[in-house]
Symmetry: C2
C-alpha cells in the first residue's frame, strides 16, 4: 500500500524530476546528513562528529564578519530588479578585484565580461544548459569535485566524461593524479567512439580534491587540446586565493588573456564560497569573452540573481585592498597553514601518503592500508567507521576516483577542532592498520565495484 502510494507520487513528477529525487551519487551530501545527526560542539556535544567533509573554511569568520557588517544599508535601488546579472558597482568591483588578485594580463578584466550569479553551482548549471544540449558531455579530470555531476545533470541533463587519473608516478617530476594531454585525448576518443557528443572540458585549478595546481605550460597544453577539438574549456578557480603553501605560484587563466587560442570557448568561474569562506552568501562570477554565451547565461540570471544587499557588502569588502592585503589574505593563509600543519604532522607520524596540497582547504590522503577490502565497499566501510569514531571525511568515490583508498580531509577548521579530530583519527587508524595493502600496485587498486 505504501509502495503504491509512493509510486503514485513518483509518477506525478517528470522523468528528470524523478531522476533528481533518486540521484544517489552525492556522497558529500550523504556525509553532511550523517554529520547533521551528531555534530560536534565543544560545549554541548563534545563526542559529536567533527566535520572534515564539507569544503568550508571555518577559520576566518571572526575577521570576515566585522568587514561584512561595515556600513551595510539597504537602499531603494536594491529593492528593484535592476540588472540581475549583477549591479554595476558589483561587477566593476569584481573586475578590479580579479584584475589585481588573479593577475589579469595583459589587460584588465572588464565588467562587461562578467556575470554574477548566486554561486558557482548556479553558473555551472546555467552555463551547462547554454553549452550542452541534454545528454551532451563535458570532460572532467577524475577525481573531481563530485557535485559537478549534479550541477550539470539536475537542470541541464548534461553529463560528464571522466578522464581517469591515478596516483601512479609515470616519469620524473610527474605528480600523482597529474592531468596529461594524452589522458585527455584518450578519454575524448573513447567517448566519441561510444557516440557521446563532447562539448567541453571542465576542471578545477587549483584541483579539488588533490590541492595541486597546473603550470603555465600545462594550462597552455590544455587550451591547445580544447582548441584542437573545438571544445569549450572552463576554468573553475574557486580555490585560487586559498593558496596556503608559500611556494605556490598558481596561474590563473585570466593572466593569459592574449594567449587563449580559442577565446570564444574559454571561460572562468570563481565564487566567494571558498576563498572568502562565504558559501552561504551565494555569490559567484562568470568571466567570458563570448558575448553570445553571456547573453544566454544573462537571460537566465533571473533564476539565480545575487541579492543586491549582499552585492553591496561584498563590494565593500573586495574594494578594501588595504584590508585584503594586510589583514584578510595573510590571516586566512596563515590559519589554513596552521590547520594543515596539524593534519600533516599526524599523517607523517602515521606514515600515511598524501598529495602535498598547495592550495585549497583539503588534503588528499591514501588510506589503503586501513581498508577492510580493496574495493568500493571497503572504501565506504572505512569512511563510515572513521565517521563513527568522530571524524567526517569524504571517500574517494565521492570524487569519482577510479583508484580505491583515497580520502579527502578538510582541514580548514579551528586549531582545537583539527587537533582533536587528528587525535581521534590517529587513535582509531592505529587499531586497524593492515600494512599488507601497501604492497598493492595501482592497477590492483583500480575498481568500480
Amino acid at each position: 500500500m505504501s509502495s503504491t502510494h509512493s509510486n503514485e507520487k513518483q509518477n506525478c513528477l517528470s522523468k528528470r524530476g524523478n531522476n533528481i529525487v533518486t540521484f544517489k551519487d552525492d556522497v558529500i551530501l550523504e556525509a553532511y546528513m550523517l554529520w547533521l545527526k551528531n555534530p560536534y560542539d565543544p560545549e554541548s556535544n563534545p563526542q559529536g562528529i567533527i566535520n572534515m567533509n564539507i569544503s568550508e573554511n571555518k577559520t576566518v569568520g571572526d575577521i570576515l564578519l566585522p568587514k561584512l557588517n561595515e556600513g551595510i544599508e539597504i537602499t531603494e535601488e536594491m529593492l528593484y530588479y535592476g540588472d540581475l546579472t549583477g549591479r554595476d558597482y558589483f561587477r566593476q568591483a569584481m573586475a578590479d578585484f580579479l584584475t589585481k588578485y588573479f593577475k589579469a594580463s595583459p589587460r584588465p578584466v572588464r565588467k562587461e565580461e562578467l556575470i554574477g550569479l548566486c554561486g558557482a553551482s548556479s553558473i555551472i548549471s546555467i552555463m551547462g544548459n547554454a553549452i550542452c544540449d541534454p545528454e551532451e558531455y563535458l570532460l572532467v579530470p577524475s577525481p573531481y569535485y563530485g557535485t559537478f555531476a549534479s550541477d550539470l545533470l539536475f537542470m541541464s541533463e548534461a553529463r560528464l566524461v571522466p578522464v581517469n587519473l591515478t596516483s601512479e608516478i609515470k616519469e620524473p617530476n610527474f605528480e600523482p593524479f597529474q592531468l596529461t594531454v594524452p589522458a585527455l585525448e584518450r578519454a575524448l576518443q573513447q567517448a566519441v567512439s561510444q557516440g557521446k557528443r563532447v562539448k567541453g572540458f571542465l576542471f578545477s585549478n587549483p584541483a579539488n580534491p588533490s590541492g595541486s595546481y597546473f603550470s603555465k605550460q600545462m594550462i597552455k597544453d590544455y587550451l591547445d587540446f580544447a582548441h584542437r577539438h573545438e571544445l569549450h574549456i572552463i576554468f573553475d578557480e574557486i580555490y585560487y586565493l586559498s593558496n596556503h603553501a608559500p611556494d605556490a605560484d598558481i596561474i590563473s587563466v585570466l593572466s593569459m588573456i592574449n594567449e587563449l587560442p580559442d577565446p570564444e570557448r574559454t571561460h572562468f568561474i570563481w565564487a566567494f564560497s571558498k576563498d572568502f569562506a562565504s558559501s552561504g552568501l551565494r555569490a559567484g562570477i562568470l568571466w567570458t569573452q563570448n558575448s553570445m554565451l553571456r547573453a544566454a547565461v544573462g537571460a537566465c540570471s533571473r533564476f539565480s540573481g545575487i541579492s543586491p544587499p549582499t552585492q553591496k557588502q561584498l563590494t565593500n569588502m573586495i574594494t578594501d585592498y588595504d584590508w585584503l592585503d594586510n589583514v584578510y589574505f595573510p590571516t586566512m593563509r596563515r590559519r589554513l597553514k596552521e590547520s594543515y600543519e596539524i593534519v600533516r604532522q599526524t599523517l607523517d607520524e602515521l606514515g600515511i601518503r598524501y598529495v602535498i596540497p598547495k592550495a585549497g582547504l583539503f588534503v588528499w590522503v591514501d588510506l589503503i592500508e586501513f581498508m577492510p577490502s580493496v574495493d568500493l565497499e571497503g572504501e565506504r566501510k572505512l569512511w563510515l567507521s572513521i565517521l563513527e569514531n568522530g571524524v567526517g571525511t569524504a571517500p574517494g568515490y565521492a570524487f569519482y576516483c577510479c583508484e580505491r583508498g583515497w580520502y579527502r580531509i578538510i582541514f580548514a577548521l579551528p586549531v582545537a577542532d583539527v587537533t582533536l579530530a587528528m587525535e581521534r583519527f590517529k587513535n582509531y587508524l592505529l587499531k586497524i592498520r593492515n600494512l599488507e595493502n601497501r604492497k598493492l600496485s595501482v592497477q590492483e587498486r583500480i575498481s568500480t565495484q
Copy 2:
C-alpha cells in the same frame, strides 16, 4: 564576414542556448530596455519616459527601508551553506506569515512544506523541470504574465498551452477575460489532439494583467478540472496582498487546505517582489504537500538559494505583525488606491474601457480606438507611439492576449509621476482617437498577425 563570425559564435552554444539568445517574445524586457535609454527623472530628465511597464511597486520604499534596515547583522551561521531551501527561522516565519495573511485553513502552513528560492521565476523554472520533461506543457489562461513562457522554456524547455480568453461578456455576472472550465477543457482537448503532453495548469490569482480574482466556487471548479485530468495546478498568488480595492475578498488556495481534491498536485507560489515591493531582493516561496516535489526542487536549491542576510531581514519584517497591520499594509494599499484613482479618472474622462482591478499594481485597458490598425502591428505601433510620448506601457501581445487592443498600465508609482504620466497619456491619445474602432466585435479583434 561579420555574419560568418556571428554564426561561429552561435554554433558554439547548444541548441537551447541559441534558443535563449534568439528568444524575442519578451516584450516587457524590450519595453524596459527602451525605457532605460531615456528614463524619467523629475530633476535630471523631466522629459524622459515614465515607466508604467515593469510591474514594481515604487510607492512604499520610504516605509520599507527603515524596517529592512532594522538591526541587520551578518552572523557566522549565514556564511555557511546550511539549509539552502531556507533557514529554519525564515521558513518558520514564512509559515506563520502565510497562515495569518493568506488565512490558511483549517490548519496552519507548516515550515516543512515550504521551500524558499531566489524569486518566483526560480521556483517556476525549477518546478517546471520537476513536473515537465522537455516539450511537455502547462495550461495557462491567456492573457498571462508573459515571462511565464521564458521562465519555463530557458532552463526547462517546458511550454505553455494558452487558454485564450476575450473581453466578451457571455452571460450576466460574467467578467471580461473570465476563465471558465469549458475554456480549460477545450484548450486541453485541442492540445491533446495535437499530440501535446499537458502536465499541469498554471495561473495567477489575482490575475495578471487583468487584476481580477476568482471566487471560491471558481477555484473549486479549477481544482476539480485539474484533478479530473490528473494535472498539477499551480497557484501563483504573487499579488495576493496588493488588494487595493476595499471590496476585494481574494481566496487563497491556502485557505482550502482540506478541500483540495488532489493535494499531491496542488502547489502555491508567492514572493516578496510585488506585495513587498522587493523584486531586487530575490526571495520567493513554494508551498506544496508533495514531498517528492519538495525533494526534487530542494535538490536544486543550490542553484537558486536566498542569501541568508536577506532571509534574516525579511524574517524581521514579516514577523512584526504590528507594523504589518498598522503601518505597512494600510499604507501600501492606500497608496496603491491613490495612484490607481489618478489612472482611473483619466480613463473615465477619456471614456476608455478597462477591467476594474481588485488587486495588483496594474489596470488592463482597452485602447482599440487609438490603434492605427486592428492587428499586432497596430498594437505595437500604438505602444511605441505612447512610449515616444513619454509613457511606457505594455501591449497586450506581451501577455499573449489573442484579442487586439489591450494594454497594461502599471500605476504603482508616486502620485506626481502618475499624474504627469496621465497628462501625457491623455494629451497624446486625444490627438489620435478613431472612435470607429469601438464598433468592432470581439471576433473582429482577434488576431495573431
